[in-house]
Symmetry: C2
Subunit: 446 residues, 2 copies
């Protein structure tokens, strides 16, 4: 009899756990991600979605449509950040905010960022449907321009929300057609009359957000390699970006003799290799350095390059070590320019500190995963996220799910329906735990 | 009495020399070059004029207008080569042909090629005005697409005229919009129904051209440095062009760890530096090697380059040495691709033999210069010219004039009115000598 009772108790526990109350439809999330991917400047599977272009605007409409269907209250700020709110019982508390981005660099995939928006809407819809009553309000959001494609500035929306952006700096950023952010925003119905107003509108008042959590694909191979279901992010690597230009005198590829040349393209080639060399020199697998932009002019086969423009990205989980790499790259640019007799400029686009994830959120994520019987791995995010800036104004955490081969920023980026379903489920339970609300037949109420 | 007679005879000789009979207006040539430069896709002083674009078509109209004003009979072939003819007295002989090109690579200057067209029209107009009667017909022409900008193939018009182009090869060349040469030609009123007919129409029959001479700016610094007026070209360097592509797997600039990368951009950077290294390794100043095209994809600062496309130009006055450099570059491409674990392809775009200039023409140019009291320098042309292909079907020569600092293929390309006037004068006298015609009061008729 004693033994039977034990079994019975365990059974009751399983039936009434919050995990069991939630129904997360992974396939629906994938269907919605697939639909979202059709708003692209390149043919699928490639996804290209640039800030405030027609495809970005169609993606925004679709996101708002899904928020409305989920019964969320929509609000947008002047920067174009979109919020969907599920009101809580205690208006004196800040919200539990989640979200990510829907813009995509040229020829990217369909999961980066989008999962953290579409998946979060599914999470909130499921909580609502299950009768969960939030204490802290639950909010899902889509950030404006996490990717730096259009204005050579990443995380534009979250920088503005966290006060990490000045009018001077934002107004100095023009796209390749010379359009400013404010002009671009005003043209699609966002924006404001001045940069000051624009940033003022987006700035989050103190106490407005109690927790921020972002669900994202790992964009690295570790979870898959170790067969772990969920990544509990402990820190976000410190990113820096440099723009380097070399200017030489060009000339005819046949007539300009080698000793008289100052080929800007070759200066650029040397610097790209120096970026790799300095990054490897740290000896740490956590240091990464990339020359992702390399453009030369005039770009004709019979003309000596007279101009080279490089975009360099350097990241590390150790901010000090990252800064040393940045300095080494600067020094190489100078040395190469002097040796090759070309003029050069180095512009520091950004050099942000790393972010440490909040331990309460890490615990909540780990417990949610445990409740669902999922394995976890504590890990660092090497990719850039809006979380990096949200961490400046709120306790912040991230949830990773595996992605195939660690591929990201490419058309064959992929996460399975099962991994997506599990990630969304963990997100929902984490948010419920952080909200402090109640389940309809919560065990604690028995 | 005896002495006086001698003085008198010399005086007669000076007055009646052919040089004195010609009036060449250097300023008019510069004015016409300046007008021609306005037909440009970029704002002056930069000149960009791409084959069969509206600006190229306007330039062609202007050239034909000038030919008509000079009293020349105009003919065009299916390739778009334009001829202006001054008939000779002996129809059984071939013509003395001169000419160059009017297309311009992106952001080039206003003298490259154009001088050899506009200056030659002035030369023929002056000969006509002076009453010179050609024996061999005198012809000036504008070649179609000497520059490789649109179809990645240089000297398209002269290759066709000299039989150096097959239907298969020309039809395989598409511009960046996927348009073929035949489609592009037909769209502007040139062309034909088939590639076979197109090339047949342009092919020059045997005996049609007795001499070809091209007037051109040096595109190098030697004449200016040595204060010489006229370059007598002895040979044209052997050009070769390669297209190399590297393909890697790309990835996220933050998340793709360094040991797992196969960065196509870095493979390209190494190859560009290898081109320079192999070129310098010949130890000869006559070897030049250039990576003038360097494009990477996706070209985003936060994305590891997954594709690099290089356009490489290698020239030498020694064909065998040039071929060795080409082979070294091929070997480096292979070695780099294997070491960096990227896929690669090498396409040989062209690998033409050098051309030796005809000695009778060199003598005629040197004598014309001497008659005008101008200094000369025998020299090699390191730049590519239509002359390279004309040399396959006719005795060919080139006349160079100095250009400032040796600059070419850039907006500040410059030759003085005086140098232009002298070059056109030498061209006119050279053509008259090669034509074998008569001056109105020629000494030989006395
Ligand atoms: Mn991304
Ligand atoms: Mn992302
Ligand atoms: Mn040229
Ligand atoms: Mn030329």
């Amino acid at each position: 009899m004693m033994m039977l009772e034990v079994v019975f108790t365990i059974s009751i526990f399983v039936l009434t756990s919050s995990a069991e109350k939630l129904s997360i439809d992974g396939q629906r999330v994938v269907d919605q991600l697939t639909k979202l991917a059709t708003f692209s400047d390149h043919q699928n599977p490639a996804v290209t979605r640039i800030l405030f272009t027609p495809n970005d605007m169609m993606a925004r409409s679709y996101v708002k449509e899904l928020m409305t269907s989920a019964g969320l209250t929509i609000r947008e700020d002047a920067m174009g950040n979109i919020f969907g709110r599920f009101e809580g019982s205690d208006a004196t508390l800040g919200s539990v905010l989640t979200g990510s981005h829907c813009d995509a660099i040229p020829l990217a995939g369909m999961y980066d960022g989008t999962l953290g928006v579409i998946g979060a809407i599914e999470a909130l819809a499921a909580l609502k449907k299950a009768g969960y009553k939030p204490r802290r309000a639950l909010e899902v959001m889509m950030f404006t321009s996490e990717e730096p494609t259009r204005f050579a500035l990443s995380c534009v929306g979250s920088r503005a929300m966290s006060g990490a952006l000045t009018s001077e700096y934002l107004s100095s950023k023009l796209d390749e057609n010379g359009t400013s952010f404010l002009e671009a925003a005003n043209a699609v119905g966002y924006g404001s009359s001045t940069y000051h107003q624009l940033l003022q509108d987006a700035l989050v008042p103190k106490g407005k957000i109690d927790y921020f959590v972002e669900l994202h694909i790992e964009q690295g191979p570790e979870l898959e390699k170790e067969s772990k279901d969920i990544g509990v992010v402990t820190a976000i690597a410190a990113p820096a970006a440099l723009k380097v230009e070399f200017h030489g005198d060009g000339g005819h590829a046949g007539a300009q003799l080698m000793p008289l040349r100052n080929d800007a393209g070759l200066a650029g080639a040397e610097l790209a290799l120096a970026v790799e060399r300095h990054t490897l020199a740290t000896g740490s697998v956590d240091s990464v350095g990339t020359t992702g932009v390399f453009e030369i002019k005039p770009g004709a086969v019979n003309s000596v390059p007279r101009e080279a423009r490089l975009g360099i990205d350097i990241r590390d989980i150790d901010g000090v070590r990252r800064d040393k790499t940045v300095e080494s790259v600067r020094a190489s640019a100078k040395e190469i320019a002097e040796r090759r007799n070309v003029r050069h400029t180095v512009t520091l686009v950004n050099q942000d500190p790393p972010a440490i994830c909040n331990s309460d959120i890490q615990t909540a994520v780990a417990e949610a995963a445990k409740e669902l019987g999922l394995s976890t791995k504590s890990m660092v995010s090497r990719a850039y996220h809006d979380s990096l800036f949200m961490a400046r104004i709120a306790p912040t955490g991230m949830i990773f799910i595996p992605c195939k081969n660690g591929y990201s920023h490419r058309p064959d980026e992929f996460s399975s329906v099962k991994d997506i379903q599990q990630g969304v489920h963990v997100l929902a339970l984490t948010m419920a735990a952080l909200s402090g609300g109640s389940w309809p037949q919560d065990k604690s109420e028995l």
